[in-house]
Symmetry: C2
Subunit: 170 residues, 2 copies
């Protein structure tokens, strides 16, 4: 599997000698590529993939408290606060206190937010398709299935597991 790098004779071959044999390395690089493509396609709107994911969730279901929001988009609860604050600063979402549970703050998408999301949707779709463009339909499908399989199986790792209604049909 190792690409034919230049192996001097005498070197002993270690497992994962090449970065190209490390799935973690490849996934990091691929994530990087996706972010770059997203910014090329949607950069004019001044939005990031995570911010758009958050708007997508809130567009479907508002209001949500921050922890629920975090588990829907799969980011840390201390991170979701930052992202929400930025979106709130642009008037795309609002946060207000929750009378029935004063620990939580309920986040809702605003009308501006809904309009904005709808405008950005198309370039997001273009970004996704450009990203997968090198693969034919069959490979795309296979790739998506493998991604989902790995994510679902490893979901409990780390501080940002997905508890999406789409994972566990509730």
């Amino acid at each position: 599997m190792t690409k034919p790098g230049k192996m001097q004779s005498g070197e002993k071959l270690e497992r994962y000698e090449s970065l190209w044999d490390r799935p973690g390395f490849l996934v990091r690089r691929l994530h990087q590529i996706h972010v770059a493509i997203f910014h090329e396609e949607c950069g004019d709107f001044g939005i990031t993939p995570v911010q758009f994911g958050l708007l997508t969730i809130l567009n479907r279901k508002s209001p949500l408290d921050q922890v629920t929001l975090a588990t829907e988009v799969g980011i840390d609860r201390s991170n979701v606060a930052d992202v929400v604050a930025r979106l709130e600063g642009r008037g795309l979402v609002i946060r207000r206190a929750n009378p029935s549970d004063r620990r939580t703050r309920l986040v809702s998408i605003t009308d501006d937010g809904r309009e904005f999301r709808a405008h950005v949707q198309k370039c997001m779709e273009i970004a996704q398709e450009r990203f997968l463009a090198p693969l034919d339909d069959e490979k795309r499908e296979a790739f998506m299935l493998l991604l989902r399989e790995l994510i679902e199986a490893n979901n409990d790792t780390g501080r940002a597991p997905l508890r999406s209604s789409l994972v566990s049909e509730q």
Copy 2:
């Protein structure tokens, strides 16, 4: 392809309605998972995947200037400086001026750095294998091939394209 979420009747279905249909979202989440697993396995060494990738490259070829290093590990040139500075602070690499081209600074791995890399190698391997554990051999191979195909085809995107000797056999 959309997972059977709860679709109220009357909602119109948009493309990529679910985050689970967005390859970018899945790759982001999977990258997150890999970092978490890496830290679980290698956290005791106080090292990150990128730092270890850098040590891997320098272990194979030292010295390298920072731009070459950046293109080998696929990170931005303004980012590689940060990572190298951290490794230098721990004595794992050194930077020195290059007499033959005074624009560049040559980065080399130290003896401590080589020893450290060798110690961490095993837990990195464990992390990679744990990451792919949910897939059988055939799927792993398919996944790795798809990752490489997407990366090579999209490599020119963004500010951190890989120009590794392993990509373009030089």
